[in-house]
Amino acid sequence: MTRYLLRRLAFALITLWVVVTVAFFLARAVPGGPFDGQRRLPPAVEANLRAAYHLDEPLLGQYVRYLGMLSRGDLGPSFRQKDFSVNELIAQGLPISLAVGGSALALALSLGVVGGTFAALARNRPRDRLLVVVATLGLAFPPIIVGPVLVLVFAVLLGWLPAGGYDSAKHYVLPVAALSLPYAAAFTRLARGSVAEVLARPHVRTARAKGLAPWRLVVRHVLPSALVPVISFAGPAAAALLAGSMVIEEVFSLPGLGRYFVQGALNRDYTLVTGAVVVYAALVLACNLLADLCHMRLEPRLRRG
């Protein structure tokens, strides 16, 4: 087990290095630079700016410099947000993205597993049909539609909740709801399918024949194996949710990590976009590792690997 973990961690580090390298060179290969604007800068001014950010050095030298900084945990200064380092920006944005994404993930998982199980137990009855319709609708409405509608109804028209900002827990209700909806729908559909499949297995039938209470049957004999596909999907979903949703952060004026991705890319803020990629890659790797560990607990057959 320890050897397995160490091997996975080593692979994760190599993957991270590849991602960093690709991101570093890709960002600089895109046409345009961080100091381009509507008006061209005088040559002396532009030369001063390039020197200040070491952009006048050879690319390979810049890359070695960046790897050196990265190994010390320093993501460098932001090219555009001049008063902050990338570390400071991420330290400020990540907790907000984690709070929104984590709550959305918890909400989506619990709604999905409970809803999917109920639907599977009541298969093809009206209750099940209704849940399937709701889940399909949830998938069909992405946050970019649901977000503004929630704002219009609950903030502008009813005035119950704030339309944006992050000052209190109340501010998180609408963004978490909008963000979790499509994931809750996806989890519901996944859970419904796999619970139904496990319910038909012989050991479940035997347990049922022995007269086991339905809730114990579900918790003890059905869910452990039925959750495997749900967990597989939850790994990447968690990474996507936790790293911050650009759409949700724009709609609800949340200063999370998601907008640094897009802004960093649009503004050619090389260090910011590479830093965001590093954090995102680390999150994906961590979530996948976690999902695999959960798998191994649920599926004894995987433990030998």
């Binding site: 100091f35 002396a44 950010y53 709070a99 903030a155 944006g164 992050y166 724009e250 709609v251």
Partner: protein, 529 residues
């Protein structure tokens, strides 16, 4: 801990003390010295006045710092850190007298030496100031900024603690105007030298304006608190201001409607009719010092033919575009220097619309029903801009010209223009109260931003003479001549000055519509204060 909310205080059950505190906070909103919440259109990328680059940063910096001159609530140039100044006969030496009670927010006096340090810092190549060229008018500035001379060679000198002398390379009567920008602001030498780049952090920043930097959550908000050491602190009514980086105008509008913001500087154009009907006392429309225009690429036939350019210009109806198409109080401008520029009277005679002359000019140039003129008109993607270009295409159709519309995102659009990849294009210039800044766009020496590559020896000569002239009236007269000479050749078609659409809570006073779109927080307050 991972999923903890960053502000857990609000989740705790409220005790009696918290309820009292909340009540007090609610009352404070109505009481003197409230905190205003302003949507500022985006995140400031820096609060270092010498490294700034964006208009939205100017607004914050104007609250934090004060240059030698400043803008008042109406956008007029007034004394700032300097109480008075005078200009030598030759226009080359400007002497500023600083206020006796000028203080940094840490209590240190604001001295002429601070300004000398600041101008040198702005132009020092190591500062990498992207707007350093704003002050290239100072003697030696370009050489210092280009690394060809040490900063000490800059033509700025502290005569004594309260007297500052600025020497120019050429006369520049608009210096007082130019010094209102953050590039001309002083920075506290004693703090910058000690802290380096970290001096702009909340808690570290020392400034000399009406407010100090209390907090800055990147992408969250910037909070400014009243500076009790400001020389006019007794006239400042707000205790604090929060600026929000409202990059998404739909989100900002929802937050304004929900009472979460008190002022927003932009809202979705489609909401204007509803707002005028339902919230008329919130809507503020103000024309901005700017010129929107069409530019012809005179290097490309048939636009090298002045008759073609004149015909296309004569077919356009500015009044129709502003009052029937845009409908937000835009000011039509037949001159290239917008009428909003104070102190300058354009001598360009408004002409047209006259379709008959336009048609006969086109016929002279060889275009008729058989052989109609086809032009490609490039414009910046956006709802307003599209409406205008469609109207222009319709007006040109009425003289038998076929228009192909082509749009691109703003940066891509201007990149094409700078490279001369266009026939006719929409362009705009957001300038200052200085006619030269607009007319320079038509000089052959201007380079890329003279998008149409217009060159006329007489215009160049008149502009060059104007730039050597110290006496303001004589200088303006030369500029008038240059403008008339240039526009007679129609290298551009001036259209209108844009309008800024703001929403301002009706109980806020001190917010005055002005062509600078500057609303210093030191003049704002809640009515009844």
């Amino acid at each position: 801990m991972l999923f903890e909310f960053p502000r857990p205080a609000a989740c705790r059950p409220a005790g009696a003390r918290q309820i009292l505190a909340a009540l007090a906070a609610a009352l404070a909103l109505a009481a003197p010295g409230a905190e205003l919440r302003i949507g500022n259109g985006g995140e400031p990328l820096t609060l270092d006045p010498h490294r700034y680059n964006l208009n939205l940063e100017e607004k914050l910096l104007a609250d934090l710092f004060e240059g030698l001159t400043a803008l008042d609530a109406d956008g007029r140039v007034v004394p700032g850190a300097a109480e008075s100044w005078n200009v030598a006969e030759d226009g080359l030496v400007w002497t500023f007298r600083l206020r006796r009670n000028g203080r940094w927010s840490d209590g240190a006096p604001v001295t002429a030496a601070d300004f000398v340090y600041s101008f040198r810092r702005l132009l020092d190549p190591r500062t990498a100031a992207s707007l350093a060229h704003f002050l290239y008018a100072i003697d030696g500035a370009a050489a210092v900024n280009g690394g060809k001379a040490p900063p000490a060679n800059l033509g700025v000198r502290a005569v004594d603690a309260r007297t500052l002398e600025i020497r120019l390379a050429k006369p520049f009567p608009f210096l007082a105007e130019r010094l209102v920008y953050p590039t001309g602001y002083p920075v506290p030498k004693h703090v910058v030298e000690k802290l380096g780049d970290a001096w702009t952090k909340p808690g570290s920043m020392v400034s000399n304006g009406a407010f100090t930097l209390a907090d800055w959550q990147p992408q969250g908000f910037v909070r400014l608190a009243k500076n009790p050491r400001f020389h006019a602190a007794q006239t400042v009514r707000l205790q604090a201001v929060r600026y929000y980086p409202t990059a998404d105008r739909n989100a900002a509008y929802s937050r304004y409607r929900n009472g979460e913001l008190d002022i927003i500087g932009d809202f979705p154009p489609g909401e204007l009719d509803w707002l005028r009907r339902e919230l008329p006392d919130h809507v503020r429309l103000s024309p901005l010092l700017s010129i929107m225009y069409l530019v012809f690429n005179v290097a490309r036939p048939p636009f090298d033919d002045p008759r073609v350019r004149r015909a296309l210009a004569l077919a356009l109806d500015r009044q129709l575009i502003t009052s029937r198409v845009l409908e937000s109080g835009e000011v039509p401008s037949p001159s290239f220097v917008p009428p909003l520029v104070a102190g300058y009277q354009s001598a360009v005679r408004p002409e047209g619309p006259d379709r008959d002359i336009a048609r006969s000019l086109l016929a002279e140039a060889g275009y008729d029903a058989e052989n109609s003129l086809r032009v490609t008109l490039r414009y910046i993607a956006g709802a307003d801009s599209k409406k205008v270009q469609v109207a222009i295409a319709a007006l040109w159709k009425s003289i038998g010209v076929e228009t192909i519309l082509h749009h691109a995102e703003m940066n891509a659009h201007f990149a094409e223009l700078r490279q001369g990849n266009f026939e006719v294009a929409q362009a705009g210039w957001f300038g200052e109260n200085n006619p030269e800044q607009y007319l320079e766009l038509l000089m052959s020496t201007t380079g890329e931003v003279n998008y149409g590559r217009f060159a006329d020896a007489q215009v160049d000569a008149l502009m060059a003479r104007a730039k050597e002239t110290a006496q303001l009236d004589a200088r303006l007269a030369l500029l008038q001549q240059a403008e008339v000479q240039a526009l007679a050749l129609n290298p551009v078609v001036p259209l209108y000055s844009v309008t800024i659409r703001s929403l301002v809570r009706p109980d806020i006073d001190g917010w005055r519509a002005n062509p600078r779109n500057i609303h210093p927080a030191r003049y704002l307050g809640l009515s009844g204060d």
